[in-house]
Amino acid sequence: MSKILIVEDETPLRTALVDTLLNEGYEVLEAKDGQEGLATALNDKPDIILLDLLMPKMSGLEVMEKLRADGWGKKVPIIVLTNRVPDDKIMADVTKYEPAFYLVKATLNLDDVVAKVKATLEKKG
C-alpha cells in the first residue's frame, strides 16, 4: 500500500487529512512542521507528500528546495496544500520545484484531496 506523508502545522487540518487518507487504506505518516516533515521524508521515503507552505521552523518552499536537491527527493511527487491564494511571486517560487498540484484548502473538498492523491500515485505508476 502506498505511503503518504502529510506535513501540516494546523492540527485539526492535519488530523482531518490523516483520518481521511487512513480510511482510504493508505499508510499515513504525519509531521507538524517543515523541519520534521523533511526529516521524516528523507528517513521514511514516502510515495507522495502533501505539503503546506506557511509553517514554523521551515517553510514548505524550503522543504521542497531541500528535497529536490536530494537523490531520492528530487523525484517524489508533492502536492502543495495551502490557503495562500497565489500571486505571481508564489507561483514562480513554487513551480520551480514542480509540484504535482497546487491546491487551495478552503476551496477544496476532502474528496478532491483523495482524488488528487489517487491521480498522482497512478501517474507515478
Partner: protein, 422 residues
C-alpha cells in the same frame, strides 16, 4: 479604477466631452477677460499678474520647457517638492528627476503622445528628489501651442507615494485577513464533510440535515472571502489576465459538474448547445470559470423548480459568445441599470430569501471588460405557460462576448481567486 471600454461607456464619455467643450468655451471667455483686465487706475498687465500669482501659489509642481526640453520655468511648489532650486535646473532637461525605476515604455508612450500633439497623463513615472528620495507621481504633460505651432511643453506633477502606500497596505491587509479566515473555514468545511461521509458512523436524518446546513453556510463564507479578495484586486488594478488556449465548453462542463446537485435538487431542465463552439480560444481560465460559475449558478438559483436553463456557446462574426437563458424570476425593469454594481441585489430575489453576496456580476463584468470582452442581458427573455394555461413573461438572458482573437493579456502581480483548481 480600471478603464473600461464598452459602447455604453463610449457614449457616456462622448456626452461628457461635449459638455466639457461647452464649459471650456465659457472658461476661455473668462480667461480672455481676466488677462485683458486693467486696474481702475488704468494699469495694463494686471491680468498677467493675476496668472503669475496663481501659478506661484499653486500647490501642484509645475514646470515649463522649451521645445528642446530645456527647463525655462518651475514654480514654488515644484522647488518645494523636488528640493531643487530653479537656479539648479534652469536650462537642464527634466529627466534629471527621473528614477531608473520608471519603465522605459512609459517614456516612449509619453513621446508618442507629445509628437502627436496630445497631452499625456500617467501614474507610472517615479521621480527622485535632490536628496535622492524616490516618490511615485501623478504626472501630466502637454504641448503649449500658439497659432498652430508647439512653442513649449508644460507639465504638472504631484507626489502620490502616500496614496500608493495606503493602497498597498489595504491590499496586503485584505490578503492577510482572507488567509487567516481560510484556515478556520477549511476546518469547519472538512469536519462537516467528515461527519457527512458516514465513515465514523451514520448520522440520523436530522443530524445530517444540520451538518449539511453548516457545510452550505461555510461554503458561502468561503466564496464571500474569495469574492472580497477579487474585488480588492480589481479595485487596485493588481490582477493579471493570462490567456491560454482553453476549451470554453470544457470549462462549462467543469462548472456544471459542481452545480449538478443543485440542478437535480430543483429539477431544472438543462439544454446545452456546444455545436458551434470553437475547439479552443485564448482565454484566462479563471475569468472563464467565473463567467460560467456566476451565470449558471445565478440562472439555477433564480429559476423556480422545474424551470429551464439554456447554455449556448458559439461564434458570431468577430466574437465568441456565451448565452445563458433561464425561465426565472427576471430582473425588474427599474433595477436593470444596477445589476452590475457592487453589493447590488434585486428586490424581488431579496424578498424570496435567495442567498447571494451581490459581488459576482460586478467581478465578472470588471474582469471580462479588462480582458476585452463584454457582458449584457435582457429581461424578460421568454414566456412561461402557467398551470392554468395563461402566459407570463419571465426569465433573463445573459450574453457574453470574447474576441475570437482571444482575451487581452494584462500584467499584474495577483491572480484571481476561484473555486477552480490552479
Amino acid at each position: 479604477m480600471l478603464g473600461f471600454s464598452s459602447n455604453d461607456n463610449e457614449k457616456e464619455i462622448e456626452e461628457l466631452r461635449s459638455a466639457l467643450q461647452l464649459t471650456k468655451e465659457e472658461r476661455d471667455k473668462a480667461l480672455v477677460e481676466l488677462s485683458a483686465f486693467s486696474s481702475t487706475s488704468g494699469n495694463k498687465g494686471v491680468g498677467d499678474f493675476i496668472f503669475r500669482t496663481l501659478i506661484e501659489a499653486s500647490t501642484e509642481a509645475t514646470l515649463v520647457t522649451d521645445i528642446e526640453g530645456n527647463i525655462i520655468y518651475v514654480n514654488l511648489a515644484w522647488e518645494k517638492l523636488t528640493g531643487f532650486a530653479f537656479a539648479d535646473v534652469k536650462g537642464k532637461n527634466p529627466r534629471l528627476l527621473r528614477s531608473p525605476r520608471t519603465p522605459n515604455v512609459v517614456i516612449k508612450k509619453m513621446w508618442d503622445a507629445l509628437s502627436a500633439r496630445e497631452p499625456f497623463v500617467t501614474e507610472e513615472i517615479i521621480n527622485r528628489k535632490k536628496d535622492g528620495l524616490e516618490y511615485e507621481t501623478h504626472f501630466s504633460i502637454f504641448p503649449i501651442q500658439f497659432e498652430g505651432k508647439v512653442l513649449y511643453y508644460g507639465s504638472i506633477h504631484a507626489d502620490i507615494a502616500e496614496r500608493k502606500e495606503s493602497d498597498r497596505v489595504r491590499g496586503e491587509f485584505v490578503s492577510l485577513v482572507s488567509h487567516q479566515l481560510n484556515t478556520p473555514l477549511s476546518i469547519i468545511n472538512w469536519y462537516s464533510q467528515m461527519l457527512l461521509s458516514s465513515r465514523i458512523g451514520e448520522l440520523n436524518h436530522k443530524q445530517a440535515q444540520y451538518v449539511e446546513e453548516i457545510e452550505q453556510s461555510v461554503k458561502r463564507v468561503i466564496s464571500l472571502v474569495n469574492a472580497l479578495l477579487n474585488v480588492s484586486r480589481i479595485e487596485m488594478g493588481t490582477f493579471s489576465i493570462v490567456p491560454e488556449a482553453i476549451s470554453l465548453a470544457g470549462v462549462a462542463e467543469g462548472v456544471l459538474s459542481e452545480l449538478k446537485a443543485k440542478i437535480e435538487e430543483k429539477n431544472i431542465k438543462l439544454l446545452k448547445q456546444y455545436e458551434n463552439a470553437p475547439a479552443s480560444i485564448n482565454a484566462d481560465s479563471k475569468i472563464a470559470w467565473m463567467i460560467f460559475q456566476n451565470l449558471l449558478s445565478n440562472a439555477i438559483k433564480y429559476t423556480p423548480e422545474g424551470g429551464d436553463v439554456n447554455l449556448e456557446i458559439g461564434v458570431n462574426n468577430e466574437n465568441v459568445f456565451i448565452k445563458v437563458r433561464d425561465t426565472g424570476y427576471g430582473i425588474p425593469k427599474i433595477e436593470q441599470s444596477k445589476i452590475f454594481e457592487k453589493m447590488y441585489r434585486a428586490e424581488n430575489v431579496r424578498i424570496k430569501d435567495i442567498e447571494g453576496n451581490g459581488l459576482g456580476l460586478y467581478i465578472v463584468k470588471s474582469t471580462l471588460e479588462a480582458a476585452g470582452g463584454t457582458i449584457s442581458f435582457k429581461s424578460p427573455a421568454g414566456v412561461r405557460i402557467r398551470s392554468d394555461g395563461t402566459k407570463e413573461e419571465c426569465g433573463t438572458e445573459f450574453y457574453v462576448t470574447i474576441p475570437v482573437s482571444g482575451m487581452k493579456p494584462r500584467s499584474g502581480t495577483k491572480v484571481l481567486a476561484t473555486t477552480a483548481e490552479i
